[in-house]
């Protein structure tokens, strides 16, 4: 299972990339896309929307199920990836390059509460049992 070491993770299977300019990029993990299967629809938040941590803010729908995406950190949506809205299969092809949205974090202390790659791998192992 692919869990890139340089990313942070949320228990609800989002990955978070800390960018050099202090913003973060959010997507769903390889594990999450595999569980959901072939994606057919993606709905992203509006740019400018202020999110609370763990607020449901996007939807990904596959042939099996529709699933909410939760904001891993509180903050303002500063960009969305329109490409995954028109081509949801990008998430299946490479979930770590098919990002969903970018946030400007409101509270950087929340970052410490995210899992690192090691912690996320452990979570996946315990889920498997």
């Amino acid at each position: 299972m692919s869990v890139p070491a340089e990313l942070k993770y949320a228990k609800s299977h989002e990955w978070i990339k800390l960018e050099a300019d202090g913003t973060v990029t959010v997507g769903i993990t390889q594990h999450a896309q595999e569980l959901l299967g072939d994606m057919v629809f993606v709905e992203l938040p509006k740019v400018g929307r202020i999110l609370a941590q763990q607020e449901d803010c996007a939807v990904v729908e596959s042939v099996k199920a529709a699933s909410d995406i939760y904001a891993p950190l509180s903050g303002e949506v500063i960009a969305i990836n329109a490409e995954v809205e028109s081509s949801p299969e990008k998430i299946n092809e490479d979930s770590y390059s098919a990002w969903l949205f970018k946030l400007k974090p409101a509270n950087t202390a929340e970052i410490d509460g995210l899992l690192d790659a090691n912690g996320y791998e452990k979570l996946l192992e315990s889920d498997a049992h």
Partner: protein, 483 residues
Amino acid sequence: MLIFEHSRKNRLNYSQAPATRPAKNNIPDNLKRKSAPLLPEVSEMDTVRHYTRLSQKNFSIDTEFYPLGSCTMKYNPRACNALAMLPQFLSRHPLAPEDTGQGFLACMYELQEILKDVTGMSAVSLTSMAGAQGELIGITMIRAYHEARGDTERTEIIIPDAAHGTNPATAVMCGYKVIEIPTDRDGDVDMEALKAAVSPRTAGLMLTNPSTLGVFEKKVAEMSRVVHEAGGLLYYDGANLNAVLGKVKPGDMGFDVIHMNLHKTFSTPHGGGGPGAAPVGVADCLLPYLPIPIVAHEQGVYRWLTEKDRPQSIGRLSAHMGNAGVLLRAYIYVRLLGAEGMFRIAEYATLNANYLLAELRKLGFEIAYPSRRASHEFIVTMKEIKDKTGVTAMHLAKRLLDKGFHAPTVYFPLLVPECLLIEPAETESKETLDRFVVAMKEILDEIDTQPEMVKTAPHNMPLRKIDDVKAARELDLVWNPAG
């Protein structure tokens, strides 16, 4: 070939059946459409062939075993249909005076009484036209109850993660925040999580029992106590009532409001997605809020209760008596079964499910909750098979079609990976169940010897494997005459 492709412009065609009354054409000119609607211009015989072919393509309860979990696809007795089609029922106008419709009103009154009796509730309203509408009524009444007491701080509805998706959707529609609580390893609600979730903000709990995991929620009495002590009310989602009908009454389990899916447990047809009917039952505390119309029986006369009789009612959900024809069929169903017959529903539904569970387990299928007895349905997980062979629940489902069986529900509930939710219902014979077991054994053998055969199924259907991903991504539902 689509029926539109049989069309020839300006072909005129009249039904051979003589008109029973003179046609009236008194629509004002300004309301008439300017261009003809886009309809196929075909002969009567081509029309008949079109619909006959469509019916032949249908995989239905009338042609095949249909173990679609959570849907209770039981036989719909023809007698219910025949009696509900009596001209005296069909010709009744919904606005006809009460004294000309006493027979119909009596049927509705007795149905209210029977449903009340079999669920242990204080009163029933029949008006709801679908399970989801029943839920909307139930949570709206819970809201009305708290508001009438000036208890406006209650903003949350607690829902277990195994619930049908309609439960959280209903709570949100009614303006509540959803608090989700997890399920423990045996398929029961996690009691510690429930205790931690209740607070002065709790408006209520929505519970399906038996749950969508196909097991009876053992701690329901304790759950009821915890929620009531916090000041919340209990909602019973009747989706799985077929497993316990007449055996355990939701009223006795402590529920304040319930809905019953007549199109499941009371055998009204729903293979085409409707029409449904989901009467709601309430305990005393919610009685004033029940939606109208309700039928009352006073001094030997039946009459509709209206806003005047029930000033606190949440109102009307339909212009008239909900899906009256569906309610009639359910009424006839319970009268044909009688009290004794109604008890047999749950007995045979659970017996059939547990028989299938035991037989499939013997074949080597993995049961999701092996320590539990099935309710009227149970879950097989294909996770290990998928990891070893790449054959998924969806592959097996498609292969079952080739063998002459409708597939079980797949990928629901979401809690169990690669799952099949299997519900045989009480109306199937042991011989049919045995044929299903044989088909499952054959597929299991094929997974070993020729997995590609399973992965590329179906092979014997009018259409081969459909690209459902492409179909969902590029929805194309409208026929275009330009081609």
